[in-house]
Symmetry: C2
Subunit: 147 residues, 2 copies
């Protein structure tokens, strides 16, 4: 099992940050090309990365403006059975968003990819909240040729 | 002890990537505000982050176009005694640069900072090689308010 963990600080409303994790418009504003689903515990959400992959997640825990935990129930190899835990914390000046991604199937290459790529997507989420424009796939910042 | 590890792919010459790790012009092109030192095993290099900190590293291993290993001999708390291992690998299409940063003193907050910030600086290095312009401190992409 491997785990990556990252944190960004966002100057914005904690509700807006939480919504970016649990709505189709939110998730397609910083991460996936499109999103379709419903954020209820036990419900599924499909994230389409155009021309690349579809990831299906199940929401396994939701605490409004605090926690969103998703389990990948369908997707390419290293995503299978992986779990994303997003934790939000309001401080005086910003909202801290911490992501923990646990994988049971990942290789060293997968680990290096996630460890380097997640900050790019979390900063895309930050930019979406702060400036109105994120960089969802395929407009994400690439971390290697062919990414 | 904590460890972070990241990898980026760079479309450029492996010598140019290596030089970015072992020359004053290189290190101040993507990371520090200014750099002063000499890349020889046992020699020191001072990296100044203007108005923030000075980090002094000792080169402990150098293999031309392959490996640069630096040990921090002076710097703020979490940097003390930490070690940076840069490994280069030429593939057909790009140069893969892998960084391992080991810390003996870091807290969870430090770990989260390094784990999220290193990709930003490694992509600054990539951009310096690919486009001629990196984002050394204080022009780095910030990961939280106050960063």
């Amino acid at each position: 099992m491997t785990k990556v963990k990252h944190r960004v600080g966002i100057r914005g409303n904690v509700e807006a940050v939480f919504q970016s994790l649990v709505t189709n418009d939110g998730l397609s504003g910083w991460w996936a090309t499109s999103a379709s689903g419903k954020a209820e515990v036990g419900s599924h959400i499909d994230l389409t990365f155009s021309g690349l992959a579809v990831l299906t997640f199940k929401y396994v825990e939701l605490q409004s403006n605090k926690v969103a935990r998703l389990k990948c129930v369908s997707g390419p190899g290293p995503w299978q059975d992986s779990e994303l835990l997003f934790e939000l914390e309001q401080s005086d000046e910003q909202v801290f968003l911490t992501l923990t991604h646990q994988n049971s199937n990942s290789t060293e290459d997968d680990f290096l990819y996630f460890s380097t790529k997640w900050p790019v997507y979390l900063l895309s989420l930050r930019d979406m909240i702060e400036s109105g424009t994120g960089r969802p796939y395929p407009n994400d910042i690439k971390i290697h040729y062919g990414d």
